[in-house]
Symmetry: C2
Subunit: 294 residues, 2 copies
């Protein structure tokens, strides 16, 4: 069932008749018959751009954006789980009482944001981090020669701690909040290449243990997605060049002072909520960070 407040505002007063000409009147309520036909002013936008403080224009948003927000809600709530098939365009069009073209445009954007994947003839699927193609979306380190492949992990440390001030600030927590700290080394063909430290909100990742991490093969984001219902959507990364300190030098088996690529990355889930801070040091003597600019 679609939760309460979901009234679509058609600010484009559709083409062919039947719709009352009064602007702002919903074409028809969504799903569930009884629902107060109040004009929605972009309030159902969980994902979208922050709502400007007060006043400002009524913030009209096109129908397809409202549909997109509704679909996103269903993704976030787990109504359709990662890897699963979502309802067809025609069915969604019927459910939302809009044309298929409008649903299509909504899904087009979701597909562009990698939240869903379309497959002609089969349907539209919820994206998942359990796929070869998703593995390298956030890991851009590739070997100078040979084909990219996923590294092996060795966990150094996993513990619950109180969030230091800088970590808390980046993750939108309060200083001292419980967080899970993970430190690991990753190996390409047996060569230690990445040492990274992760912080995760304790509230969300309660029950995450070293044992669970070790026994799980594959990308951590896959584990997070299936075990903790938290899917990483996008990330923001800051890259620098630094010198290896004693700790990194030992773990990566390199000389003190070797130049390393430093990456500080904050990952976000639905609603632009930060749910991971990751600080990595990359050895780039046989690998490089690959970026496509456009």
């Amino acid at each position: 069932m679609n939760s309460a407040s979901s009234n679509l505002t058609n600010n484009a007063t559709a083409a062919s008749g039947a719709v009352s000409p009064t602007a702002g009147t919903p074409a028809t309520p969504v799903a569930a018959a009884a629902s107060t036909p109040v004009t929605v002013t972009a309030a159902s936008n969980t994902t979208a751009s922050a709502v400007p403080a007060v006043t400002a224009s009524p913030t009209f948003s096109p129908l397809y954006q409202q549909i997109k927000a509704l679909i996103t809600q269903s993704l976030q709530s787990g109504e359709w789980k990662p890897g699963e098939l979502i309802p067809s365009e025609v069915e969604l069009a019927g459910r939302f009482k809009v044309s298929q073209g409008t649903v299509r445009k909504a899904i087009d954007e979701l597909a562009a944001e990698n939240l869903v994947m379309r497959r002609q003839g089969k349907g539209t699927f919820v994206s998942t981090h359990h796929e070869a193609r998703a593995h390298f979306r956030f890991l851009r380190l590739v070997p100078d020669e040979g084909v990219p492949h996923y590294p092996e992990s060795k966990f150094i440390e996993v513990k619950r701690v109180r969030a230091p001030a800088d970590v808390a600030r980046l993750m939108d927590l309060k200083s001292g909040d419980a967080v899970i700290f993970i430190k690991r080394v990753q190996y390409f063909d047996g060569v230690p290449t990445i040492v990274e430290e992760l912080w995760l909100p304790g509230l969300i990742f309660k029950g995450l243990t070293a044992e669970r991490l070790v026994e799980y093969k594959g990308p951590m984001y896959g584990l997070f997605e299936t075990e903790f219902g938290t899917r990483m959507i996008r990330a923001s990364e800051q890259i620098r060049a630094v010198c290896a300190d004693a700790g990194a030098a030992q773990l990566l088996n390199i000389d003190l002072g070797t130049p390393l690529l430093s990456s500080e990355r904050v990952s976000f889930t639905y609603g632009d909520k930060p749910v991971e801070l990751r600080r990595g040091l990359y050895l780039t003597s046989r690998h490089h960070y690959q970026n496509e600019l456009s």
Copy 2:
């Protein structure tokens, strides 16, 4: 005038009548009345994916992709120059004898690739590197604190040389071909932060002098675009961490061995043709490389 061979193949035999049911028959030839109505099999794709050697399926491509290719040709040929307004969607639809929706979808993709920019109420404009928003598309180095702004350039060296083997390979030239070599340092607030070396094909950039570079204010890509008719479309970048050698240390006024971000970037113009190799060393003590992953 649209050059010869531009016949659209409508492999979707449009909806409402008038079109002969024979598959492969063009809906109607494009522009210029007289043109041999021959079935085109994606031959007019200059930009697109390489045409598979021989045989293989007839390589159908949707109408909007063919329109996109035609528009791209006009952009490349300079029929519409950077910063200029291109014909309206309705006009293009009329010219190509397709519906406005089809032109729209073609332009949508061009806009997504930053080749054109749409402005509601005004029209669609050819993108240009002479814009504030374009300045940071390829330069991702931003200050740790304060607002980003464009650096000042000081040119160290500008000369014609023969392409070394590695440069030639990356730029799709023959070893020994004439190239223009440029070395410069860039300053943020007076602090030397970037030292970079560029190689450009001598054939295209004939007449590029140190004097012209020095007197020109603004991003080099702007100069290349207006003076040499070569517009950079996308780039591929490899990033590493390295130690400052004697030359870099002197130019950046830092200690020998200071860690620097190394970027090797190949930029491409229309038709995925490489037209610039740029090797930069970035001092990241007060700046960082900003990347958004999604």
